[in-house]
Symmetry: C3
């Protein structure tokens, strides 16, 4: 038996199969500093222990996207090493806050399989759960990817596509225990805008643009122990029509979320990922821009509200005119990400 891991091919997956992913990871202050250096987030809740205590937490929690990247990275060798494309996310819920010192591990259950008509690939649906050192689930999400078959002639189970919710219900959102925005310091947070100031349908251009360099993309990907070959192996990528390494899609999500500070300064704390699509690949060196739309609102407590936000990112394309998809679902040129999530926001009370 070869000791080198070839990854799983489509015919290797079984419905109901549970995969324990490798390399549990203790989150450190070093990871948090690198997250700041790589993406430039400015949300006060993750930046200051003092600010976090004023919000009812013991110390600054780790940005939920850090937990997402750590858990996602662990799944790559088992789920998407032979993937053609990462197709989407759904039903992502952040279930418990993560702090420096917590150790995360991950497992996935195969919840759907559908062979493509060409017989060469199929779509694998997994529900992945990240668990901390006390066995508490900290996040859970569904992802589906198109995976190559090793052998086009291989027999494959009858197809089964899971029913997935369009969005996490507001009633299922789980803000960190103790979270209370009564003493929220709007001046230190950077803007006075509260829950009450955002209207459903409102669009916000985040104005700023940010380049990600190749070295930054690689460091961000290695940090999460994500091993997908397309991000690192230039020798092999030279044979691709693009000739370029692909940037890990999570880099685009985190960069766009950091850019969204300008206009959504008080919505850093992501509570759920309703859906996400990497509309086009991003290559290092392009300038990322972003805009958001408020899709929905919900009250979670007397001081905490939630906004359902659609965050759209583009490359080399400012967003003053909110580039979007047309009625047929085709995206405007330059759009690279469409990311639907819930985030906590202080109520003015």
């Amino acid at each position: 038996m070869s000791k080198t891991d070839p990854g799983n091919y489509f015919e290797d997956f079984r419905l109901g199969q549970v995969i324990v992913h490798a390399t549990p990871r203790t989150i450190t202050a070093g990871d948090v500093a690198l997250y700041t250096a790589l993406y430039g987030p400015r949300f006060a809740l993750f930046s200051s222990d003092v600010f976090a205590r004023d919000c009812g937490l013991e110390t600054a929690p780790v940005d939920p996207l850090v937990a997402f990247h750590v858990v996602f990275g662990k799944t790559v060798p088992d789920i998407s090493l032979n993937a053609v494309a990462n197709l989407g996310y759904a039903e992502g819920r952040f279930l418990a806050p993560v702090h420096v010192g917590d150790t995360l591990s991950a497992r996935s259950e195969v919840i759907g399989l559908k062979e493509n008509a060409n017989g060469k690939t199929g779509v694998v649906y997994v529900r992945t759960t990240g668990v901390n050192q006390r066995g508490v689930a900290v996040l859970s999400y569904v992802r589906w990817v198109m995976v190559r078959k090793r052998d086009p002639a291989a027999k494959v189970e009858a197809s089964s596509v899971p029913q997935l919710a369009d969005a996490v219900a507001a009633g299922d959102l789980t803000p960190p225990p103790g979270l209370d925005f009564k003493r929220y310091d709007f001046a230190h947070a950077g803007a006075p805008h509260a829950y009450e100031d955002y209207a459903i349908g409102e669009k916000i251009d985040h104005v700023d643009g940010m380049v990600v360099e190749e070295a930054e993309a690689q460091m961000a990907t290695r940090l999460w122990q994500n091993t997908a070959k397309v991000h690192f192996n230039q020798f092999e990528r030279a044979k691709d029509p693009s000739g370029r390494r692909l940037v890990y899609g999570g880099v685009v999500i985190s960069t766009a979320k950091a850019l969204s500070f300008n206009g959504l300064q008080n919505t850093g704390l992501i509570l759920a990922i309703n859906g996400g699509r990497h509309v086009s690949p991003y290559f290092a060196g392009g300038t990322v821009f972003a805009w958001s739309q408020v899709l929905d609102k919900a009250e979670l407590s007397p001081t905490v509200g939630a906004l359902r936000l659609r965050l759209v990112a583009t490359v080399d394309r400012p967003c003053a005119d909110f580039p979007d998809k047309d009625e047929a679902g085709a995206y405007a040129p330059g759009v690279i990400l469409d990311f639907d999530h819930w985030a906590a926001v202080p109520k003015r009370g």
Copy 2:
């Protein structure tokens, strides 16, 4: 009201106005490691808890330039988002040491305003103070920047230019409480040179050269949550005659200070910034060189002295012949920084 922050224009500032800056920041061991990785400093006091204890401190303090970058970064969205140029620094004093775990926040007072004759821009003078979680000021400095007017026709207050000291007086220097160089370990520090060995007027070529890559410059800038567009938005910068992103001036300061280890091995602890000027912009990829001159000396305690040092940095220009400004004040080609500061140094006793 738009929720996107357009930054302040010259006519938005008022004399005496106090601005509380966003995003308090807890300094971590991750920030310190990144500082080392990005600039390469080797001063033992910041590198080793054991060395720091032998100098009378509880643990290794954070390099004062880290505190400076953190505080400076916070001011950018409010003070210099619409700046044409960062003109200078003065009266910078490091008032209390910063350790890992401290949370810094920043506020600025507008202490001077002077419209330029063209009516399109003006100079804003601010005194910025960084404060820790106990409300103790850890540093204070004056900065002046040239800022665009939103509306050239806007009326502007009568001009007021503050009187600024040429240098911080030696009597106003505040080394960390407890600092005592009696047991200073010169071998571990890397050189035997003490206060007594440096003569006023002495020039030192630091010999080594160091490239800063674009990715490094961006990471260094994001780490300090400095959002100035010129550092990140290549799409917009492509329209500039340079076609390039500008590197944050603080990167040049920290790189030059790190290079100065070679010849000034025992002067890492900056106590004051007397003045600083970014003579020319620095673009990533150039090799930075540096030289220093001893401008003054002062005894602070039986074991601690201070050197007033002028640190000059160049790009693609070795400094064996100490490139300088001429009598008319014009700098030699290649000079990018002229940075006048006080630093602590052990006395041989």
Copy 3:
């Protein structure tokens, strides 16, 4: 006397001379996070405190290569600032585990000197020891480098070349006190392969390829406070036939070791460096590949075994056919590293 350190030239070294190196260094969680971001290692023992406790350790130890880089970096200004080439390593032993919070310092003893026939250079052999804050040696290794003479006419001591062991004897390996793989979690470690599954002579292609960018190479080198000019001074390197900065050889070692996870998932803990040779320089941008061969096996305890591994790295050259040296000792094109080490591995018991 100039205060700028010119480094030592060949005629400056004396047999038996002991050099205390500058800049003791407290290892932090930030260093560990950067190590992960720069190389992408996935060995569970260094990644998870929980996993490490299950292996009998209090917390996750620092990867021994971190300790090696820290100690190596300190020696550069004294030993190899004027080196023409880093010729080899031998008798490297990791003597005690290093944890976050430990402070390492380094000293070297000159154990061999041999002038070259051309009279312009000579080979210096040093045994370097890294010591923690309790005075306990954590690692020791021999390195030899070719160093320029300042003055070709300088008289030099009679030559003395030390006898060096081909490999560290299995009986001299010192795994961390308490290390016990009885509860080793193979699922979380990423592969089921135990001591019993590896055969002497077995070759493993690690398949994956990894680019190191210039910014990454520089950050990795600065992080260890390694100042060798060839890594940073592009202005000077432009005069070299390559026109390029050289990447620090330790970057190649750590990158190759991280790649070796794919096939050697349970052998992360290096116990000894038997020998190492940087066969060719590596320049940033090339894709690194690696393969390994099992040279020897040894039982250290009822649950802990050791594998003697030869790790060969190439650039832009996949390793499915195990590119090697021929009988005359000439390496196949593309080979850049040949690194012989002992690593701990769990026994199935």
